[in-house]
């Protein structure tokens, strides 16, 4: 059996409290209860309910002679093993809508235990399907089928006619008396038939296949800088295990924000995920283009978030140009064929024109006015404190890069005249950003013609224009973001200057916390502008912290507010903006920094 690339466990650096055990192509996950340490839980991302508020969650109980006993666990990319002395239980997840579970001198019980305090209410019935297994019905959560392959299955699901609910729902795999082992499967499905899964392969082969699948996925990424290899494995594991197969509304493999919390495939995050995949450019390109399968035919708008049941009514920034430009800068454009270019540039163009049409500021040019911070991606950034409509230079910057991508693709497709037009548009907008939005210290958002007096890190994001910017601007941005006592902290760049009275580490995203995407964007921008040393400082600070703390979206840099000295209020854990579960948004940011900025 090949060596483990990632390790989670009772005695490992990272338990499964914030990172789930999961697998590419499956909606299943296993994690350790945040409040009851030592208790593993089993859930499913398919229904898109957070683990803090769902009726579909199971306690995993380890049984020795039928009695629940405490256990320890160890997990890698192949399987998770629970142990109690010499007894063990092992779970391996497949990409064919089922998991396998086996054990020696032990049993395992999956007990339905709602996180809403509703016990077994999600269960709506059980029945034997004779040769197939036990089908269990969970209403909106779909069905599970428990199949004993070796050993037997025992179900306890007493129904209270008085209350009209199941009082308990316990599904127990029991070892065969002779071999003292058991082996079973749990299938998930919605209709009348199991997903065609082939045959039950030998368990060890499944584990080996999972490891091989992970290794194959890992090969999509560049090597990271020395000292970050182990963290990179965790980051890649996060992305790999959150990558779901097409299902419901989602038509092609997509990478979820989270499996347990924000169970959506966020539009701009698909492009974030593409950026470090520089050893599989076909996949990187697919990731960047993925959201265009859902492009609105009438307007050209690209949905902000995909859930299994549909698109969430939202919009996210036009990030595709930034991601593609970064990849092109690193590896060139040979991987995009003329046919692909011809196919995609009209779609990219419609996406640009969506913004310059439906968010046009009414000046007769391509300057836009956005209507909510969600359209910028920075939900509570202080550059929006004066409200909306807002002329946001970050939106314009993304549009410049997207325009240039349209131009490049049009050129590859042989449409030179079209290409030239788009380059001209991009150049003109770049000049507008420089002339009108740079105030000498930062790029200021404008509301009703007035500059917003902000101390947000977002004010420096147009650095991603790189050497398109005059050197004095580049120098000033580099100087300001690294000035002590403002955005620079020991763990990376804070999203709001520590000198700002608006800083908060509470229920907040980008008004003080150190967050992955902003650190990545600013560092990549500085690198593009020729400020490699500065980029690397930021990258190392951020990545060093993530190495220790895990793939967490945002971190409070201090336990107090530097401006006033007051202690920052304790936040009850878990906490949404801390990225209670690990997120791919931190993982992909880390991978980009560690593979393409540090030691570049």
């Amino acid at each position: 059996m090949s060596k483990s690339q990632v390790k989670f466990g009772t005695h490992e650096k990272f338990p499964l409290i914030r990172a789930p055990f999961a697998r590419r192509g499956s909606v299943y996950y296993v994690y350790e209860d945040f409040y009851k340490h030592g208790q593993l839980k089993f859930g499913m991302a398919k229904h898109a309910e957070m683990i803090s508020g769902t009726d579909f969650l199971f306690d995993i109980e380890f049984l020795a002679n039928g009695i629940p006993v405490p256990y320890e666990y160890y997990a890698d990319e192949g399987s998770i093993k629970l142990t109690h002395g010499y007894r063990w239980v092992e779970i391996a997840i497949t990409d064919r809508q089922h998991l396998r579970v086996r054990g020696y001198e032990a049993g395992v019980r999956f007990t339905l235990n709602s996180s809403n305090g509703n016990g077994a209410r999600a269960l709506r019935g059980t029945r034997s399907l004779k040769d197939v297994g036990w089908e269990t019905e969970f209403g909106k959560y779909g069905k599970l089928n428990f199949v004993p392959i070796v050993g037997s299955l025992h179900i306890e699901s007493p129904y209270s006619y008085e209350k009209g609910v199941y009082e308990r729902a316990e599904f127990e795999f029991i070892a065969d008396a002779k071999t003292r082992t058991f082996d079973g499967a749990i299938h998930e499905y919605d209709g009348d038939e199991l997903y065609p899964f082939g045959e039950y392969e030998p368990f060890d082969k499944l584990v080996a296949d999972n490891k091989a699948d992970f290794a194959e996925f890992k090969a999509k990424y560049r090597k990271v800088a020395k000292g970050y290899e182990q963290a990179a494995d965790y980051a890649i594991y996060t992305v790999w295990s959150y990558r779901i197969n097409p299902r419901g509304y989602i038509k092609s493999p997509a990478i979820m924000f989270s499996l347990q919390w924000a169970i959506v495939a966020a539009s701009w995050q698909q492009s974030y995920n593409a950026m470090p995949m520089q050893r599989d450019l076909k996949e990187a390109w697919r990731q960047i283009c993925l959201m265009f399968d859902y492009q609105d035919e009438r307007t050209g708008r690209v949905d902000g978030m995909l859930a299994f049941t549909g698109a969430a009514a939202s919009m996210q920034p036009p990030f595709q140009g930034f991601a593609l430009e970064f990849i092109l800068r690193n590896v060139g454009d040979d991987f995009i064929s003329a046919e692909e270019a011809a196919k995609m540039y009209p779609k990219f163009a419609r996406w640009v024109n969506y913004w310059t049409t439906y968010r046009n500021a009414g000046r007769g040019d391509d300057v836009t006015a956005i209507f909510s911070p969600h359209e910028s991606g920075w939900d509570d950034a202080s550059n929006f404190q004066d409200g909306f409509p807002a002329n946001d230079p970050n939106n314009l910057t993304f549009l410049v890069l997207l325009m240039e991508c349209v131009a490049l693709l049009a050129k590859k497709a042989g449409d030179i005249a079209v290409s030239d037009e788009w380059y001209a548009r991009a150049n003109k907008l770049t000049q507008t950003i420089i002339d009108e939005f740079w105030d000498g210290e930062k790029f200021a958002t404008m509301v009703k013609g007035k500059r917003v007096d902000s101390m947000s890190l977002a004010d420096f994001q147009p650095i991603i224009l790189g050497k398109r910017l005059p050197q004095h601007i580049i120098d000033k941005v580099a100087e300001r973001v690294l000035a002590p006592g403002e955005w620079l902290t020991e763990i990376g760049l804070a999203s709001e200057s520590m000198k700002s009275p608006l800083v908060t580490f509470g229920i907040s995203f980008v008004c003080g916390r150190v967050v992955a995407p902003q650190n990545m964007i600013i560092a990549v921008g500085l690198q593009a502008a020729g400020k490699q040393k500065e980029a690397e400082i930021i990258a190392r600070l951020f990545c060093d912290n993530v190495k220790e703390k895990g793939m967490i979206l945002g971190f409070a840099p201090y336990d107090h507010f530097p401006l006033t000295g007051e202690p920052a209020p304790d936040q009850p854990m878990p906490f949404a903006t801390d990225g209670w579960p690990w997120t791919t948004w931190c993982a992909n940011g880390f991978l980009t920094l560690a593979s393409s900025v540090i030691d570049a």
């Binding site: 709506r124 059980t126 029945r127 549909g310 009514a313 209507f371 939900d379 004066d386 409509p389 008004c511």
Partner: protein, 388 residues
């Protein structure tokens, strides 16, 4: 034939429009029927009423009374009036006020994001999105963004009268990025159109239904993405509905095409009532087009095949799960029982009976299923009480 709904119990509205006006505690509220949509994180539920409707004089709300029928609401306050009606062509609710400032007060900022735009005011509130334009009068609206709350301040829209004392406000319900269509009908023309639509719709319904049930069926009619009309059980709380509800709701129609359209709006689930309901329709002598009859036959065939493949056991048809019986807690049901159910067998058999009858246009219906046991309250239960 004006019907006057009790707005404390039944909203003012019309079919296939999300706009509603409801009476909450004696004052009128603007509301939008909710549509389920995925979101990043769960949002807190809001009450049905989204904006309290007020008539202001010198900044102070005037007490008012109102009169509502199926096409319009007239609010009277001192010497002022506010009238409301639907403009179907533009998917808008229209207001006309005289001698008073019209105020729509959102009361609660949770989950609101608002923006004053060059051509109007957009308010995203509790899962609904309004776009307000005032062709007469002046809108005042504070759309201040509150960073820490990820939203705007409480939305309060005031429309002050023009020099002639007039206010006209259009409240659009529009998809994103849609230019508000100009209104082309007068207020009076809209009222007449709504009345005519209710009257025409009423003609499709069985004689003997009360005006109240007729209005509610019309109000709750919604066109689905598949092109079929369905009758939602409750317009205010939820737009969700089930196949069983549609089967029963289809009994309200004397027009065969309208009845089949509703019946087929949601694929048959369990219990399989489509055959029984369709048999009653045929027996009533209602005529239906060839296309309707073919669609009905196809659905019944599909459904019967499903029951034969998935719920037949030597001994008969069975329900696998409690909820399939149509009841949450049937006292005789046992898990894994595979118990043959005689009434279920009768219902499934009726599928073939109706398919055959559609060919020769005659049906022998001896079955008499008590449908009241499948619905306990709401509009669908009311329909069942009144249909003969």
């Amino acid at each position: 034939m004006a019907y006057k709904p009790n707005l404390a119990e039944t909203p003012f509205g019309r079919r296939d429009s999300r706009h509603m006006v409801v009476d909450q505690g004696g004052t009128l509220w603007l509301a939008l029927a909710s549509e389920a949509a995925p979101s990043l994180v769960p949002t807190a539920p809001r009450p049905a009423g989204l904006f309290e409707i007020n008539a202001l004089r010198d900044g102070k709300p005037l007490p008012y009374t109102y009169d509502a029928d199926d096409a319009t609401i007239t609010i009277s306050a001192a010497d002022a009036t506010i009238a409301i009606t639907h403009d179907t062509a533009t998917n808008a609710l229209r207001f006309e006020a005289h001698n008073v400032t019209l105020r729509l007060d959102g009361k609660n900022p949770a989950g609101v994001s608002s923006t004053n735009k060059p051509n109007g005011t957009e308010v995203n509130i509790g899962g609904g999105k309004y776009f307000f334009i005032a062709p007469r009068g002046t809108i005042s609206f504070d759309d201040t963004w509150v960073l820490a709350s990820f939203g705007s301040v409480t939305p309060i829209l005031d429309v002050a009268p023009d020099a002639d004392g007039k206010v006209e406000l259009i409240a659009y319900d529009l998809p994103a990025d849609t230019v508000p269509p100009p209104v082309t009908k007068t207020f009076g023309e809209c009222i007449l159109q709504n009345k005519a639509d209710f009257a025409a719709f009423s003609e499709l319904l069985k004689d003997g239904l009360s005006d109240e049930v007729r209005y509610k069926i019309w109000l709750n009619s919604k066109k689905l993405a598949n092109g079929h009309w369905c009758i939602t059980p409750n317009r205010v709380i939820s737009a969700a509905t089930t196949a069983v509800q549609q089967a029963i709701a289809s009994l309200a129609f004397k027009d065969g095409d309208a009845s089949i359209d509703v019946l087929l709006s949601i694929p048959e689930a369990s219990p399989p009532l489509h055959g029984y309901v369709a048999a009653k329709l045929l027996k009533s002598g209602a005529s239906a087009s060839g296309a309707s009859r073919l669609a009905l036959a196809k659905e019944l065939e599909r459904a019967k095949k499903w029951w034969d493949a998935n719920r037949w056991y030597p001994g008969g048809y069975y329900y696998a799960y409690r909820f399939e019986t149509g009841f949450d807690n049937p006292p005789d049901f046992r898990d894994n029982g595979y118990a043959p159910d005689a009434e279920l067998a009768e219902l499934v058999a009726l599928h073939q009976t109706v398919i055959d009858a559609l060919i020769d246009n005659s049906v022998d219906l001896s079955a008499d299923i008590d449908l009241t046991k499948f619905v306990s309250d709401g509009l669908i239960a009311e329909i069942l009480k009144e249909v003969k």
